[in-house]
Symmetry: none
Subunit: 372 residues, 2 copies
DNA sequence: AAAATTGAATTGTACGTACAATTAGTTTGT
DNA sequence: ACAAACTAATTGTACGTACAATTCAATTTT
């Protein structure tokens, strides 16, 4: 107690305990304290250092030393490592691993831990996972919504996240009822450029395949329709095939076979919900002895490695994948830190919308070439 | 991280985590550390100061600085959820997502949380991750070894896991120096049946491509050689192509092109390290206008979805994937529970070896068919 | 042989200096 | 009026010195 730094320390602590400082109020600077107590800066720093360690103060380079807001202190334990939960629909589905990887690498480099959860596209699982996250100490959540096209019965859990001050962001899609910060791509435009590409190549009979339990599929379908409108090409309702996740391996293939067997109005172009589906449909075309792109053109979506795995390299739409994962990680870390420092700086975080980009490979061709 | 005191701090922390010190063992004195790191005493004191604050060390005036005995540490966490760490080389590489998925679904069903880490096949990252696992409360670890064909410099961290009573198991491969419980497939046999299949179809000039920085590749190569021995077919040394992860996109393709350009002894069969490589090689064959399987047969490995994505569905070797992930999860949960109950029942846990199985599709053909 | 003393090693307190990095507000320039 | 540049204040890192306090073992004294 008779050490100088201890004198300083106790004096400051007394002031805090006596309520001399509001939460987050700035205390005297090190220079002022030196004069006040007639000690060296070193001594002041040691005193403050201990108070910081004990959680009474926090320092901010450039601005000063501040009194901790101890009303929040209790809820968040500071010694354990920060952790971010990532919730996806399918861990193993082809583009999510890339997203997860992008996020994982950024988070682990920045000292965060990644907790991984998968809903398998089941709302019940989503509920279970959200409960688990709420009941532990998780610092932030990155979510890829399950069945985003439908009303979400777990919406209360999301509100509860907000109430408990756990920041969350959504990727790929979002629930309409919430207005979360999210990272998505402009799926409507994506569907548009897929279709436009074919139209500009002279195609008029274009079939679109869309998975409609996710909002992405619905938006891409909108884009498909918009493109037709813009170029004043009538849409044959039979040319829009929508399907659910559970049907993805059967319905689109079956429907395509029916369309190809028709005597008239055989389609010349296919717009696919994603590359995975495009590959499935390629099998059908091969069976029917139709050559791509000579007989029929096909456009994928996502620009996954699948697009380059097939014999005909797919024309497709680029998905940010890694970049999106990394950006999501960056954003959530930002939000978590803002949360912790009680920085009410009102820096507005906004939804990031990625612009789709067409990657032209070998699976599409001008229809006129065929006829000349 | 670039500050001097942080360098010193991390270096000391690494030593502790690597198990260089017994509990309560004295570490170097401040004077020694000054010389070791060529920094001032002040810097050493700051570094040690933080480690003391974080609970890694304690100081005793007059005698020295000592390593904390972390085994007493709160007698393991009681209230929080159990968590299992999964460390893979590449999160997004094509078969790991399946393994992770299998493990994740079992673990989350059983109330465990999954912490995901990726080494990106870099030993330094593995070290960082192991340090992170040791410095938090993790209950069990599932590891896919990085660069398993080489000696592992992080072996001390694994010993430290054992000392701290954190069970771990390895999948796909293992480090020779440790004798861990692991889940692997019989890769030698896998390479054998790949090759045998071609030999039985009359092939005599078979090229094998093996990634040799993982133990799997080396074993598969052994199998390839064994098959040749058994059927008394001489091996042309040029027909064994080994490559490292970094070269996977270039070397095998280049080597194949050279072999195909030869005037004599053009190979009729290709044994590939995995399906991914097989697809790359298919591109080369397509460029050379060689038809699969008529002109040349090709066998993949893993039976991933890639095997069915290409125009010629691949003959390949089945990898347990999901099943392996699930079994790993089951095993680690068992070990954790045994740990917790102090059940010294000596139930012996043993390495599980999966038998490879050939999946015959369309990429291989009897060589005699071609000549008749 | 036991006790007291000494001394070396080690951490603790305290002073000083210097410059870097960051922040926030002020001034300047367009 | 707005953006850019500057400036002062503040904390962060890093060097140095000096001496105090404590511990432990070796030495000396009793």
């Amino acid at each position: 107690m008779q050490t100088k730094y201890n004198t300083v320390k106790q004096a400051i602590k007394s002031q805090i305990l006596a309520g001399a400082y509001e939460p987050n109020q700035k205390i005297s600077s090190e220079n002022e304290l030196m004069k006040e107590f007639s000690v060296s800066r070193h001594t002041v720093r040691v005193a403050i250092g201990e108070l910081v360690n004990e959680g009474w103060l926090y320092r901010e380079q450039g601005s000063g030393t501040f009194c901790t807001d101890r009303s929040i202190q209790e809820s968040r334990n500071q010694q354990s490592k920060k952790s971010i939960a990532i919730i996806t629909t399918y861990i193993s589905d082809y583009i999510f691993p890339s997203i997860i990887r992008g996020a994982e690498s950024y988070l682990s480099e920045n000292g965060y831990q990644v907790n991984l959860y998968s809903t398998n596209n089941d709302i019940e699982n989503e509920k279970r996972i959200l409960e688990s996250i709420l009941s532990q100490q998780t610092d932030g959540v990155i979510i890829e919504p399950t069945k985003s096209a439908f009303t979400n019965p777990n919406i209360n859990y999301y509100f509860n996240l907000e109430r408990t001050n756990i920041p969350y962001i959504m990727i790929n899609a979002f629930y309409d009822e919430l207005e979360p910060i999210c990272l998505i791509m402009d799926d409507e435009k994506g569907g548009f450029i897929q279709t436009e590409h074919l139209i500009k190549h002279g195609h008029k009979n274009i079939v679109g395949f869309f998975k409609t339990d996710d909002i992405q599929g619905i938006k891409r379908m909108k884009g498909y329709i918009k493109a037709h409108r813009k170029y004043q090409i009538p849409i044959n309702p039979k040319n829009i095939i929508s399907y659910y996740s559970e049907e993805k391996r059967t319905k689109p293939k079956d429907e395509l076979e029916i369309l190809l067997s028709a005597q008239t109005d055989v389609p010349t172009g296919l717009v696919c919900y994603n590359d995975e589906l495009a590959l499935l449909l390629l099998d059908v075309l091969r069976d029917k002895n139709l050559k791509v792109p000579n007989d029929i053109s096909i456009v994928g979506y996502d620009d996954s490695f699948l697009a380059e795995a097939s014999e005909v390299k797919l024309t497709t739409v680029k998905h940010p994948k890694n970049k999106m994962g990394e950006a999501a990680a960056e954003l959530i870390v930002d939000l978590v830190q803002k949360n912790n420092q009680n920085n009410k700086d009102n820096k507005e975080y906004e939804t990031i919308i990625y612009d789709p980009e067409l990657v032209i490979r070998k699976s599409t061709k001008k229809i006129s070439d065929d006829e000349t």
